[in-house]
Amino acid sequence: MASQNRPLSPHLQVYKPQLTSVMSIMHRATGIALAVGTLLLLCWLIAAATGERAFNDVQAFNASWIGRLLLLGWSYALFYHLCNGIRHLFWDAGKGFELGAAYRNGWLVVAASVVLTAAAWIWGYASMGAF
């Protein structure tokens, strides 16, 4: 018979969020978001294969504020999942696991994902001749 006083793992509601735990669930959330967001990208490609009208419709949606917002979310999710995925691959190799290192490479991933997203959008607007 199990003891009534045995330690239980804390419920999520009373568990203090930490960088490591928040980043972990973010990796999963961005993965799901990317799976859904890929459908949007697919519409673009299928529209290009269908014809000019369909393609222009999708382009117009992408250029709308909701389209841009979705693309911004998609691009950030992609860069976050990419950077944190590389962090995971290092962990799989047994590197960067110590507490201090996990926090350092965690912040590095956060910074890199923001910088890369900004860079991609600046590049995108630059190629549209916005600057």
Binding site: R28, G31, I32, L34, A35, T38, L39, L42, L45, I46, A48, A49, E52, F55, N56, A63, S75, L78, L82, G85, I86, H88, L89, D92, A120, W121, W123, G124, Y125, S127, M128
Partner: protein, 125 residues
Amino acid sequence: MSLRSPLGKVRGLGSAKEGVVHWWAQRMTAVALIPLVIWFVASIAAMAGADYSTFRDWIATPMVSILLVLLTIATFHHAQLGLQVVLEDYVHTEWLKIACIGLVKFAAIGLAVATIFSIVRIALG
């Protein structure tokens, strides 16, 4: 007491009945996706606002078509492997879990085929 050897246990006797195949495929597709995704996002950013014919000409370039097909295969394989783990973690009704995983796998294959067909159609047309 188990009479199974440690080797026997890892060879297809985990909860997924497939040992480390799933884990390994997730990592291999992840590694493949690193350069493919960087190339793709850079290309899309460089072509922001491109018109219909520019976009099609780009896709029809042989190297681009090949890389897009590779990106499609790696993306959908990686995505369905990841979604499978999420479903295994959170859906606890056995029949529903199997139905959801099946749906994700069928959808991934269907969408991947639709994508590849679109790329080939543009590349050859």
